[in-house]
């Protein structure tokens, strides 16, 4: 008994755990992340706004304001796109960081809890079987379907994961694998039923793009992402405790079951929104948190805010590349993130003076 309590107090000292009120959240480290990252993010946004297929005449924007042609292109096409890519990047990266912490598994990413596969399945259902749905619900029909499908699949995986009682992480992961495979099979069957046009619509949707960025989507995604980043930072102390192991975290007073519920719901919400507005964009959720762990540190109080900012920055850059490199056409941004991110990540892992993947 005495030993155990000694251990506990030691953990408490090494990894101070707190219920951080929002004000205290801005401790010194995170304050510098927010300020430094914010400045870089702002510069990147400005850079991205100045790039594009259409040659913007800034003097015309200044003279005719938002109602001239150039002003409207800036305000209605480019700005929503930059903001949307920023918030989707942040949402994916933060969710990846939180899930990797929760599952204590470096391969965890938002796809694991079924959001992507559920979203694809539901979008495929709408495109192939219920085209009337998009006719009824208009431009955002596919987005809504994707969100509902992603969220339902995530809840299903979570329920199956705890069928045997408790919240066994291994069971949850395996349930995710099984449900993802099932959803994949269902999508395959729908592809079989689809016409040529439907198949192409589905393919392009699932490659991910910010091409259709409009203000309503921006408000929704930015709002949800900000809320979930704030809540995840609030939970970051508990995630740190979880790094020690589930039992240890429980000894330290963390309600691990509640933590799992909260984190899965938060990530389902924000990734669901991201997938809904932009389709499937791979790689970001998996790799951004690793970049920060490799280059900096694994403390979730730092990891989560900096993942958000780095995710936003890199996604803006990837999208800027996607929409300028083959202009006047554009690449699906999911291809760019994987194509540029993959080799960079490999280099980071195997660079000469790296300490390895740990």
């Amino acid at each position: 008994m005495i030993n155990k309590s000694n251990e506990m107090s030691e953990h408490d000292r090494v990894i101070p755990v707190m219920h951080i009120p929002l004000v205290k959240m801005l401790s010194n480290t995170s304050l510098s992340i927010w300020i430094g990252g914010g400045v870089v993010l702002f510069l990147v946004m400005f850079f991205s706004l100045s790039m594009g297929a259409y040659r913007l005449d800034w003097s015309s924007v200044l003279s005719t304001g938002w109602h001239g042609r150039d002003g409207m292109i800036l305000l209605d096409i480019r700005l929503p796109r930059v903001l949307l890519s920023a918030s989707v990047g942040a949402a994916l990266a933060v969710s990846g960081a939180a899930l990797q912490g929760l599952f204590r598994n470096p391969l965890a990413d938002p796809g694991l809890i079924g959001i992507s596969s559920g979203a694809v399945l539901s979008v495929a259902l709408v495109i192939v079987i219920f085209p009337a749905w998009t006719a009824w619900s208009g431009l955002y029909g596919l987005s809504l379907a994707a969100f509902i499908g992603g969220a339902l699949t995530c809840v299903l995986i979570f329920k199956i994961g705890r069928l045997k009682g408790g919240h066994n992480v291994m069971q949850l992961i395996l349930a995710g694998v099984a449900i993802n495979a099932l959803a994949g099979a269902a999508v395959g069957f729908l592809t079989y039923l689809s016409t040529d046009e439907q198949l192409r619509t589905l393919t392009f949707w699932s490659m991910g793009s910010f091409g259709g960025a409009m203000w309503p989507a921006v408000w929704m995604t930015t709002g949800v992402t900000l809320i979930s980043v704030a809540f995840l930072i609030h939970q970051s102390g508990h995630l740190n405790r979880l790094l020690l192991g589930e039992a240890e975290a429980r000894y330290l007073g963390t309600d691990t079951d509640q933590l799992k519920r909260r984190i899965i719901l938060l990530t389902a919400l924000s990734v669901g929104c991201a997938v809904a507005v932009s389709g499937i964009i791979g790689f970001v959720g998996l790799v951004i948190p690793h970049l920060i762990r490799l280059m900096w540190k694994a403390d979730h109080r730092v990891l989560i805010p900096s993942s958000a900012i780095l995710g936003a920055i890199l996604m803006i850059l990837a999208d800027t590349f996607a929409r300028t490199v083959v202009s006047p056409a554009e690449l699906p941004v999911g291809i760019v993130t994987s194509l540029l991110g993959g080799p960079f990540f490999l280099w980071l892992l195997f660079r000469p003076n790296s300490s390895g993947a740990s």
Binding site: M72, I73, I77, T201, S209, M214, P328
Partner: protein, 300 residues
């Protein structure tokens, strides 16, 4: 501190979505989803962007090809069309990309998209002429007249339609006269189980136009075919696109299709390979393609 997470989050998400949905519905109402079809231009447009292979062909056939400054990747005929700026694949357009060409009019075949990009373009009042999918030759003639009207080429379009109608008449007479219906199978993709064209496909329409019988008309759309079904259908002719045939090493490679060697087509080496846009584009060269297909069927 003890907030009920599930309740809290469900509430927030429901709220978000309700408001966004209301927003979206409003937005769709403000910007009508219906693209403009009849546009009146004071001046004849000189900067044209054309989306869709057949649309571009019509523009060139009407003699206004030099005004096409941009087109999509499906527009590869005539050769000059390949030299225009490419705005990407017709279903994956970029709003800024199209706008960067500063078009005075955009002609778009049905299926151009995605829908959100079209609504962005509409919000910036891009002059947009949408052309319905050609499921019958009458629709092709209508599209030619629409384009001719916008481009002030009424006379050329009337002449073109008259010529095509004459060709159509001659073709139909010839088909009636010889009273033969060769059994044809269109194969789109040759790897794995080959994909064949059933009802309601451009290939099916072309086969019927050329006076053939589509042996796969029992299925709907493009479907994979098993080797045994291929033997069972026993087509007299196999029809394919150049792109599809090249992937398996041309006509020789097509002999390796599962079940193929047991068909009448293989025994007689009856394989027809034609360019995809020419054969299936349903543009102004459609009747020419049907004639060519027919001449293959009757040469041997």
């Amino acid at each position: 501190m003890k907030w009920q997470t599930p309740v809290c989050i469900t509430f927030i998400s429901a709220l978000c979505f309700a408001s966004i949905f209301a927003f979206a519905l409003q937005a769709t109402q403000a910007i009508s989803a219906e693209p403009v079809t009849a546009v009146h231009f004071d001046n004849v447009p000189t900067r044209v962007v054309s989306i869709g292979g057949a649309t571009t062909e019509i523009l060139f056939a009407l003699g206004v090809g030099d005004r096409v400054i941009g087109s999509d990747t499906t527009s590869y005929y005539p050769e000059q069309a390949q030299e225009t700026a490419k705005v990407g694949y017709m279903r994956a357009l970029s709003a800024e990309g199209v706008l960067s060409l500063e078009p005075e009019v955009v002609f778009a075949a049905e299926g151009a998209g995605p829908a959100k990009v079209l609504s962005q373009l509409q919000a910036l009042s891009t002059p947009w002429v949408s052309l319905p999918e050609v499921t019958s030759l009458d629709l092709l003639y209508e599209n030619i007249m629409t384009i001719g009207q916008v481009m002030s080429r009424e006379e050329s379009s009337l002449a073109l339609v008259a010529r095509l109608k004459k060709e159509q008449f001659q073709l139909e007479q010839a088909i009636k006269a010889d009273n033969k219906k060769p059994r044809i199978l269109f194969v789109m993709q040759h790897t794995g189980s080959p994909m064949v064209a059933g009802r309601n496909t451009a290939a099916d329409r072309m086969i019927r136009l050329a006076g053939g019988d589509n042996v796969a008309s029992a299925v709907q759309g493009y479907k994979p075919l098993t080797a045994e079904a291929m033997v069972n259908l026993n087509p007299q002719w196999i029809l394919s696109t150049t792109l599809g045939a090249d992937k398996v090493g041309g006509t020789e490679g097509m002999h390796g299709l599962p079940g193929f060697k047991f068909t009448a087509a293989a025994k007689a080496n009856h394989i027809i390979v034609m360019d995809g846009l020419f054969l299936l584009g349903f543009g102004p060269r459609t009747l020419q393609a049907a004639q060519e297909l027919r001449s293959f069927l009757h040469d041997k």
